[in-house]
Structure formats: structure tokens, C-alpha cells
């Protein structure tokens, strides 16, 4: 038995092809990669650019920071330099890459320094690498420089080594997108020497960091990281090559990593660690979050969302689970997805909490079974800013006032009943006051109420009365307990409210999604889907929502809008960008954050299907994470529905095309038969007569002449029908209504058919009380001619054709009946289709006659039906409505 030939995995190959295609479509990105400032990235890039220029390439400098180095400046000589865009920001003028000018200039290659640079506010993108992606999308090859510490996934490692954390990072995906990475290497000693010679530019504000950063040990470590990262990327290429060529399976069997994340800032580190591990193992990975019983505050939720986004941007999957016990939920997920490794953070809380609640980690490890559990240090977590995670409204002064009133009321009640009660009972009255405050107003006023109660109780009731002095220390305990009860109640109340709010907002979200799903079920086309999305989104958010769909020429047009704010040119600009790039932009995002509107793309299977534009009522009021998620969910559902609708209409169009195709082929066969037959007869007869036709007697000659005449008439009918059909089809049929006596039309029709009818009897039975009909006499005559002609064709010669008409209250009914073979069952409808011919139709008009009749009658607002006639034969029944205003 032979081994099956080593064949590449089709899926992997497909992916490879897609990537190659995408790369071809996208321009090349070349990154000059260094491990520290000063290694000569910009210099190397410029040198390469000069070489390309010398070879005739269209190289333009987008932005280069020479940092005053004369060698670098010298290299700029002779290169075309794009003017920088000047942006005034806080009193200083920043010189930024002018994206619009670069796009307009559209050079073959653009040089862009410092890929990780953060743009000045007000520019289109927050980050320069986003500008670069735009340039690449436009087919401009970009050469850029980048240092290792700016790579997102290496950010932590570098920060650990150097203790300097850089804020400007680029997603790893950008680095991976690079078609070529040139590592600019320099031994650490040489770099230090350059630094001493003052050849390395250090921004002033970073001078403090310099001493930490430029230490030999650091530089060696950074260099190693840079080299390894480059090697990894090369490895990716090699792997791609191997997959493409089906060289042996080196894929470690089915590793899969799951990392548990939460709102804690240390989760970002976990995510980066998971990515590094996943890279090393070449394993897919997923970040999961377990939504427990305690609701998250606003700040926590936002951090959590940021972490999940980070995971996504690093190429991981994300999953939101819910469950009371986090360990159980994570393990269930891990097993279901065949995860091999689980990464969780080291606990930072005290053992006490584990004793009370049970240890998450213990449970996880004990029940993990075959899954490896990696516990990773959370790192030194800066204490969270103890921001109030209380999204509820600020307690207003009226609340304090209200709390004071309640206490005052309590005091009054207590005073009224004082003489019947003992002191502990008075305490109860105050407790009631505190409870009411806690239930009604926020924490501040509740605590205030508790404090006030204590004070009032002390002052009014505790002996000695009307002083704050306390004679018995027992009362101090009472005070403390009163206060504690107040605090506890208000805290409980706060939680209940938070939970309630959370579930309300979730309920609202799921209600919106449910409503949308219901609408979408009923929406048949993209426009109604757009209306449904706009309606539901406008209901869910405070503002106007518009849905833009692309026209056939690619421009976006407003398909639906709810809310007052009409879109202006700027909103449309943002929407266009979003549509073209498939990424969200505008208010609340990294791209064009200064916009008034927030735009989310409608995308399904990589196809851009449209854009949702949200304009908040309060200007600049961005949506929170929860609302953004809802908007994205709406967009996702909507995109699928639009795609379904377009697919349906595509299918319909395809069906129509197929029908047209079918019609065309039947037209061809019909034309070739119906046109050629009379033509052949005419040509044959004419050629026989040509040249005097010696040898033909007068009878034969007459026969030939008659053939020519009859066949010409047949051709004329066919051509007439084709023309008529074209008019009916194109909708250009113009009904010139007049009030006509029906007998005039019947007479004209029979007159026209006189020759054709020959000796065949025609019986007309027109009721005496027939009103004038409102019709186009020429067209209605055509209908009758076609129907009678049809009867002549199908009914045997000598059998009578009957034309009758009668009036009903709302219409006039005209019938043409014959004693032919009748209509085969089931074909009462199909005979009205084009190129349909009844069996045995000898002389024919190409199967168009009845289709024309239907077209004309329907243009009159009437109906035509074919019926089986009692006693044999067919009846064609036309009903023409009687419009008001009939002359008597």
C-alpha cells in the first residue's frame, strides 16, 4: 500500500490563496524594524529609497523625522518631500503626515517614519498606523520604521525589562501584515557609542527615561527580543510556504488556549501572555469572561470591554459566558472547545476571601482534568483609581433635604409618642426613618439621614435632653448601631438598584434585538431591513439613526432614517470611510473621533453592505460600552438580513435571467420557425416564377402567386405581433381611452379578418343594453382580432365562432367561443404566456397572440380568462371595467 501523497490541507491552502490575493490587492508594506532608537532605521529606509529612486521608482517622503541629524538630512536631498500638515494643538504647532495630500499625490512608494506615532487630535485617525492602512488600501506601497517596544504584544515584556512603558503601540496584526520586515541591527556597544557621541535623538521629556533605557543589559535584551520577533515572523512565512507546498505536518496536534479575563487591569497582561504562548504553540486562543452574579460597575465594564477588544486585536477569539461559578463555566467552555491550556491570573486577594467564598483557583485546578492550567502573575497592579462606580445620578440637594425632612418627621412622631414609649422604641422610630431614606434616596443622603437621626435622637431624647451630652455610655453603642444600620441598608439598596438597572438595560437590549429580529423576519428587501434597523436603533438610543445603503454605482444613499438630525456632508464622509474600510469610526472610536456621528459598518462575510449612522441628541455624547455592543449587535443582525435580502433578490434576478434566457431561446426557435417557413415558401414560389417560369401552366402559376401572397400575410401578422408584444412588454403601450360602442369594435375586427375567415360562420350576440365601453378602440380591436384568429386556427373549418357581449353592473363582459378541441386541463393560465402554442396550431403568430391580449386587457384594468366551454370548445372571457362618467 502506498502512502497517500502529501497533499496540502485544502482549507489552509484556500486561506493562503485568499491572503495572497488580499496582498496583491493591497499594496506592499515594508517595515524597517529596530530594537531601540538610534539604530539607524530612518537612515536605512532613506538609503533604500534613494536606491529605488535611482532605479526610477516614484518614491515620495511622507514624513521623516531627521531629529537634526545631518547624515539623515543629507539623504533627503533629491527626494520629493510631501508638505506636512500643520496642526495647532495647545499652543504648539505639530507637523503631521498629510494623509489627504498623500492620497491625492498617490505615489508608488511613500516613506513614513515612526509607525507607532500618535496623531494630533483633529486628524482623521488617532494613530499613524491607521493612516498607513488607508494608504495601503489605496494601493500605495508604504515603507515605515518601527521599534520593538511599540509592538502591542511585546509591550509588557519590554516594560518589564526596561521599566519604561511606552504608550504608543501598534497592533501585532499591522506587523504581521507587513510584506517585508527588515531588521536594522546594531551591536549594543555601537549604539551606546553613538549615544555618547550625541547621535541618538532623545526627546526631552523622555530624558528621565534615558538612563533607565539605554543600559547595556536592556539593549542586549531588547535586541534579542527584536531578533526573535523577526525570526518568528520569518517563521510564519516559512510555515506558510510549507503549508502551501504540503511539506509535512509540523502543527502540534490541536493545541488550543483559553484565557480567563476580567475587569482587573492585570488581565491585559494575561491576554498578551496568552498570545505569546499561542504564537509559540501556533495554537488558536480565546479570551473568556464569566459574567457572575454580581453586576459590574460602569468603569469595570469599560475596562473589561477594552480587554476583550485587546484580545480581538491580538488575533484571539472572545467569548462571554455566564454562570454563578466562574471555574465551572470556564472549564465547561474549555472542554467544549477542546482547549488544552487554560491561563488564569494569580489571585491578589487575601486568603480570607477564599475561606468565605471558596477558592476559584482551587476549584479550577481540581476539576481541570486533562486541561493544563497556567497561573500567571498579575503583575504589580496599580491600585485602581477608587472612582465611584456608581453610575446613578449624583445625589442632588433636594435628596438631602428630603432625608432631613424624613428625620424631622421621625423626630415629631417620636416626640408625640415619647411619653408612652421607652427609649429603645424611639430608636425604632428613627430606624424606620433611616430605612425609608435608604430605600428612597442615594447613599449620601441615606448616610446623612443616619447621622442626623443619631444626632436628633441624642439631642431630643437621650438624657440629658436638649444637649448632645450623653450620660450613659450604653447610648454610644446605640448610636453606632443606628449608623451601621443606615450604612448597611443604603449599601444593600444601592446593589439592588444597580442590579435592577443592569437587568433593565439588558432587558432593553434584548427587547431591541428581539424586536429587530421580528421586523427582519418580515422584511423582504434591503430597504425594509434598513427601516427596521433605523427604527429599532433610534428607539434604543437617544438620538437620530440613519441607515445608508450602497447604490449600484457604489455611492451611499440614505435608505432610512429615524430622528430629526439630517445627515450633513461630514457625517456622510465618515460613513463613506466606514463603508470603504469596514471599520467603525466617528464619535467614540479611534478614527475621526471628533465627528458628531458614530458610524458602524454593516458587514456580512466580508462584504460591505451599508452603514449605520448614529447622531446622539446631546452633541458629543458618545455611547457607553453596553450601547455600543447593542449597536454592533444590531448591525450584525441587520447585515445578515440585508445579505439575505440581497441574496434573495439576486436569486430572483437570476431566475428572471433564466426565464429571459428561456424566453429568448423559445423566441429564437419561434422566430426561426415562424419567420423561415413563410420566407421559404415565398422564396421558393418567387424563384419558380422568376424568369418567366417556362413549363408552368396558368393554374400552377396562380397557385405560386397565391402562396406568395398568403405567406406574406402570415409574415406580416407575425411581425405585427412581435411589434405589438414589444410595446406591451416595454410598458410603452398607451391606452387612449374613448367611449366606443362595442359593436363598432367587433365590426372592425371582423372586417379586418374578413379574408381570413372565408366562409366560416361568425355569430355575434351583442346585448341591446350594452353601454359605451371606455377603451382604446385600436387595442381592443386587436384583442378581438387575435382571439377570433386564434379560434380560426384551432377550431375545425365550418364550425361557428361566437362573439358575444353583455353588461354587468360594474363591467362589460366580452366572450369569444369556438367549438375547437378546447383548452387542455391545467393550461388555462399557461396559454397566455409568450411563445406558448396550443397543440396543433398550424398557422401561427409565433405564440404571441394571447400574451398580447392579456397585456392589452390588463392595461385597460380588465381581466382575460380561458375557460372550457360546455359541449366542447374554448371560451375566452374578457372583463372590462365600467368607469364612472359613462355617457348614456
Amino acid at each position: 500500500m502506498t502512502e497517500p501523497a502529501s497533499r496540502p490541507d485544502p482549507d489552509a491552502l484556500l486561506k493562503r490563496v485568499e491572503e495572497a490575493e488580499a496582498k496583491r490587492a493591497r499594496a506592499r508594506l515594508k517595515i524597517f524594524f529596530g530594537f531601540a532608537p538610534g539604530v539607524g532605521k530612518t537612515y536605512a529606509m532613506l538609503e533604500a529609497a534613494r536606491r529605488l529612486r535611482a532605479q526610477g521608482a516614484d518614491v515620495v517622503v511622507g514624513c521623516i523625522e531627521t531629529h537634526g541629524r545631518p547624515e539623515t538630512a543629507a539623504l533627503l536631498e533629491g527626494l520629493e518631500i510631501l508638505p506636512r500638515r500643520e496642526v495647532a494643538h495647545r499652543g504648539i504647532v505639530l507637523h503631521e503626515l498629510d494623509l489627504d495630500r498623500a492620497l491625492a499625490r498617490k505615489p508608488a512608494i511613500l516613506l513614513v517614519d515612526e509607525l507607532a506615532h500618535t496623531n494630533a487630535p483633529g486628524l482623521r485617525h488617532a494613530k499613524r498606523w491607521q493612516d498607513v492602512l488607508d494608504l495601503l488600501d489605496e494601493g500605495i506601497e508604504v515603507h515605515a520604521t518601527l521599534n520593538v517596544q511599540h509592538v502591542e504584544s511585546l509591550n509588557d515584556v519590554v516594560a518589564q525589562i526596561t521599566t519604561v512603558r511606552v504608550r504608543e503601540t501598534i497592533p501585532d496584526a499591522v506587523l504581521e501584515r507587513a510584506d517585508e520586515i527588515e531588521l536594522i541591527d546594531l551591536p549594543a556597544e555601537d549604539l551606546l557609542a553613538r549615544l555618547r557621541e550625541g547621535k541618538v535623538y532623545i526627546p526631552d521629556q523622555a530624558a528621565r527615561a534615558r538612563d533607565n533605557f539605554f543600559r547595556r543589559g536592556n539593549l542586549l535584551a531588547l535586541r534579542e527580543i527584536a531578533l526573535r520577533r523577526t525570526a518568528d515572523l520569518v517563521d510564519v512565512d516559512v510555515r506558510a510556504y510549507r503549508e502551501e507546498h504540503g511539506i509535512g505536518a509540523t502543527w502540534p496536534a490541536g493545541e488550543r488556549i483559553v484565557v480567563g479575563v476580567g475587569p482587573s487591569p492585570s488581565s491585559a497582561r494575561l491576554i498578551r501572555a496568552a498570545r505569546r504562548m499561542a504564537e509559540g504553540l501556533r495554537a488558536p486562543w480565546t479570551a473568556v469572561w464569566v459574567d457572575g452574579p454580581t453586576p459590574l460597575g460602569r468603569a469595570d465594564r469599560e475596562r473589561l470591554e477594552a480587554h476583550l477588544r485587546l484580545a480581538e486585536s491580538l488575533g484571539g477569539g472572545i467569548a462571554r459566558l455566564s454562570g454563578d461559578r466562574a471555574a465551572e463555566a470556564i472549564l465547561t467552555f474549555a472542554r467544549r472547545h477542546n482547549a488544552t491550556r487554560l491561563i488564569v491570573g494569580k489571585p491578589t486577594h487575601s486568603r480570607l476571601r477564599d475561606l468565605v467564598y471558596g477558592s476559584f483557583l482551587d476549584e479550577l485546578v481540581r476539576r481541570s482534568g486533562g486541561v493544563d492550567v497556567h497561573v500567571i502573575a498579575g503583575g504589580k497592579v496599580e491600585p485602581l483609581p477608587r472612582e465611584s462606580d456608581e453610575p446613578e445620578r449624583e445625589a442632588a440637594w433636594p435628596d438631602y433635604f428630603w432625608a432631613a425632612e424624613i428625620v424631622a418627621l421621625g423626630t415629631a412622631v417620636a416626640a408625640a409618642v415619647d411619653r408612652f414609649l421607652a427609649l429603645p422604641d424611639v430608636v425604632m422610630v428613627y430606624l424606620v426613618a433611616i430605612m425609608i431614606s435608604a430605600a428612597r434616596v442615594g447613599r449620601g443622603p441615606s448616610v446623612f439621614a443616619a447621622a442626623l437621626s443619631v444626632a436628633a435622637y441624642d439631642f431630643f431624647f437621650v438624657p440629658p435632653r436638649y444637649t448632645f451630652a450623653v450620660s450613659d455610655t450604653r447610648h454610644i453603642l446605640t448610636f453606632g448601631m443606628m449608623f451601621a444600620v443606615g450604612l448597611l441598608l443604603s449599601e444593600m439598596n444601592r446593589r439592588v438598584r444597580a442590579r435592577e438597572r443592569e437587568s433593565r438595560s439588558r432587558e432593553a437590549n434584548s427587547a431591541a434585538l428581539y424586536a429587530l429580529a421580528k421586523d427582519l423576519g418580515a422584511a423582504a428587501d434591503a430597504a425594509s431591513v434598513a427601516r427596521a434597523i433605523a427604527l429599532r436603533a433610534a428607539e434604543a438610543f437617544d438620538g437620530a439613526v440613519a441607515v445608508l445603503l450602497p447604490e449600484s454605482d457604489g455611492t451611499l444613499s440614505e435608505a432610512a432614517r429615524f430622528g430629526d438630525a439630517a445627515l450633513d456632508a461630514r457625517d456622510r464622509g465618515v460613513a463613506r470611510w466606514v463603508h470603504e474600510h469596514g471599520r467603525a469610526a466617528g464619535l467614540g472610536t479611534d478614527t475621526l473621533p471628533g465627528s458628531r456621528a458614530s458610524c458602524v459598518p454593516l458587514r456580512a462575510e466580508g462584504r460591505a453592505l451599508g452603514v449605520i449612522v448614529f447622531v446622539p441628541r446631546a452633541a458629543g455624547h458618545a455611547q457607553d460600552a453596553e450601547q455600543r455592543r447593542l449597536l454592533e449587535a444590531l448591525a450584525q443582525q441587520g447585515a445578515l438580513a440585508i445579505e439575505r435580502a440581497t441574496l434573495a433578490s439576486d436569486a430572483e434576478a437570476a431566475q428572471l435571467r433564466a426565464r429571459t434566457e428561456e424566453m429568448r431561446s423559445s423566441l429564437l426557435s419561434s422566430v426561426s420557425h415562424d419567420l423561415r417557413t413563410p420566407l421559404a415558401a415565398i422564396e421558393g414560389a418567387a424563384s419558380a416564377l422568376r424568369g418567366g417560369a417556362p413549363g408552368l401552366d396558368a393554374g400552377a402559376r396562380g397557385e405560386l402567386v397565391e402562396t406568395i401572397y398568403e405567406e406574406s400575410a402570415r409574415l406580416e401578422r407575425l411581425v405585427g405581433n412581435l411589434l405589438e408584444m414589444t410595446r406591451v412588454e416595454s410598458g410603452s403601450i398607451e391606452v387612449k381611452r374613448e367611449w366606443v360602442p362595442l359593436e363598432e369594435i367587433v365590426g372592425a375586427a371582423l372586417d379586418r379578418l374578413e379574408r381570413h375567415l372565408g366562409a366560416r360562420p361568425v355569430l355575434t350576440a351583442l346585448a341591446d343594453d350594452l353601454p359605451l365601453v371606455s377603451a382604446d378602440p385600436t387595442l381592443l380591436e386587436q384583442v378581438l382580432v387575435n382571439l377570433v384568429d386564434n379560434a380560426i386556427k384551432h377550431a375545425p373549418g365550418g364550425t361557428p365562432i361566437e362573439v358575444s357581449a353583455r353588461a354587468t353592473p360594474g363591467s362589460v363582459v366580452i366572450e369569444v367561443a369556438d367549438r375547437g378541441p378546447g383548452i387542455p386541463p391545467g393550461e388555462e393560465e399557461t396559454i397566455f404566456r409568450k411563445f406558448r402554442r396550443g397543440a396543433g396550431a398550424a398557422a401561427s403568430g409565433g405564440g404571441l397572440g394571447l400574451a398580447i391580449c392579456r397585456g392589452i386587457v390588463e392595461a385597460h384594468g380588465g381581466t382575460i380568462r380561458a375557460l372550457r366551454r360546455e359541449g366542447g370548445g374554448a371560451v375566452f372571457s374578457i372583463v372590462i371595467p365600467r368607469p364612472p362618467g359613462e355617457p348614456s
Binding site: E738, W739, P741, E743, I745, G747
Partner: protein
């Protein structure tokens, strides 16, 4: 008859049609002048002074209807229009502009010759200014002097408007008359009557003179155009 064959001006741009008509007409007692465009036609009409003009409505350099109007400003020569089917509005317009009759493409030669004969006869009659006192079409007899009509010898009782209608048709027997012309000449210019009034009275007239009004023998309907009393010379 003048003894000389009538001169016919044929204005037609299609060479095949000209060839066919040349062959057909010159074999009969007609002389033929041909023109391929409206401009040539105008020149030929002034220089040859034809007795009849055959005019194709679709000419490359202009509208046959316009040419008709211009001819009518200075000549009463009978004009028979040749037109394609389905252009009823054009026919009506041409007739209202002063054309005498029309034939629809494709047409039989017999039909064309009959129309030409009718047109020539009408021209001669109106030139003599002495109209025939009686018109007979088969069994239908219209006597203008006694203002009486009869079918198969039986007198027909007509209302005044029916009489005027029948007399007008008989006066122009064989010639197509548009609804507009009938309204103008029978009801009088400036009438408020509408085309359906013509139809209604025509229907009642037919009931009185036609044996089967649904298959009329005397008054033919020209769909979309008007009516024509059958030519007394054709059976």
C-alpha cells in the same frame, strides 16, 4: 378622362417600394414621377403639376404631414398617404392636414389602385362643381335632391343628424373621414359635441341601414381613424 394617362408623383424614400410601385403603376394607365425626399417632392410637385401624389409619411428629410400642409397652401391635388400600421394618430393628422386617403403598409396593389381611383374621381367631381344627385352603393341609395335614403328599395326613416351624417359619408363615398372632420362638417365648427357622439349616431345610423350592424357592409370603421362609406365602384 382626359385621354392622357394621369401623372402620379411618388414621394417615397425606400428604393424597393419605388421599384414595386413603378412596375405596378406604369403597367397601368399611369405616368410616374419619383422623388426620394420631401424637398425633391416639393420641387417635383411644383414643376410637374401631378394629378395625384402618393406620399410616404416617413421621409428622411422631413415630416410627410408637414409636406402635406405646405402642398395644401397652393394646390388641391389629391394626396394618398402611405403609412405603416399602428400609427393611427399619424394617419388622422395627415388626413386632417388635407390628405385625401391613406393605405397601410403592407398593402395590396388592388387596394392602392382603388384608393387612387376614388381620389382622382373626387378631385374631378369637385372641379366640375356639379355633384352627382344620387349615390348608389349596392342596395343603398342616397338621393341628395329629395333628401331620401333607401336600402333594397325600402325607404329608411332618418333623424336630421343621421341624414346629415349619411349624406356627408355618401358625398365622400370611398374616402376615409376622420372623427374630427365629421364633427366639424356635420355638427359644425365650434361644436361642443365629442367623438363619442359621432360614434353613437353612427351606431344608430348603422342599425337603420345595415342588415347586421356588427358586420357592417356599407359603413366601414377605420379603427382609430374614422369611417368610410364603401366605394360605389368596388363591390
Amino acid at each position: 378622362m382626359s385621354g392622357v394617362d394621369p401623372l402620379v408623383l411618388l414621394i417615397e424614400d425606400e428604393p424597393q417600394m419605388r421599384r414595386f410601385l413603378r412596375a405596378a403603376l406604369t403597367a397601368r394607365p399611369y405616368r410616374l414621377v419619383e422623388a426620394a425626399t420631401a424637398a425633391e417632392g416639393m420641387i417635383a410637385a411644383t414643376s410637374h403639376n401631378p394629378e395625384l401624389i402618393l406620399l410616404d409619411l416617413g421621409l428622411p428629410d422631413g415630416d410627410g404631414i408637414e409636406l402635406t400642409r405646405r402642398l395644401r397652401t397652393w394646390t388641391a391635388v389629391p394626396i394618398v398617404v402611405i403609412s405603416a400600421r399602428g400609427r393611427e394618430a399619424d394617419k388622422v393628422e395627415a388626413l386632417d392636414a388635407g390628405a385625401d386617403d391613406y393605405v397601410t403598409k403592407p398593402f395590396g396593389l388592388d387596394e392602392l389602385l382603388a384608393r387612387m381611383r376614388v381620389a382622382l374621381r373626387h378631385a374631378r367631381l369637385s372641379a366640375s362643381a356639379n355633384p352627382e344627385p344620387v349615390v348608389t352603393i349596392g342596395s343603398l341609395r342616397v338621393d341628395f335632391e329629395s333628401r331620401e335614403a333607401s336600402v333594397e328599395g325600402r325607404p329608411v326613416r332618418l333623424t336630421p343628424i343621421e341624414w346629415r351624417l349619411l349624406a356627408y359619408l355618401a358625398r365622400h363615398a370611398g374616402k376615409v373621414l376622420t372623427h374630427g372632420q365629421i364633427l366639424k362638417d356635420v355638427w359644425g365648427a365650434g361644436t361642443s359635441a365629442e367623438p363619442h357622439h359621432v360614434r353613437v349616431h353612427m351606431a344608430s345610423l348603422r342599425k337603420k341601414i345595415e342588415p347586421d350592424p356588427a358586420r357592417p357592409r356599407f359603413i366601414r370603421t377605420e379603427p382609430g381613424v374614422g369611417y368610410r362609406l364603401r366605394d360605389p365602384e368596388t363591390p
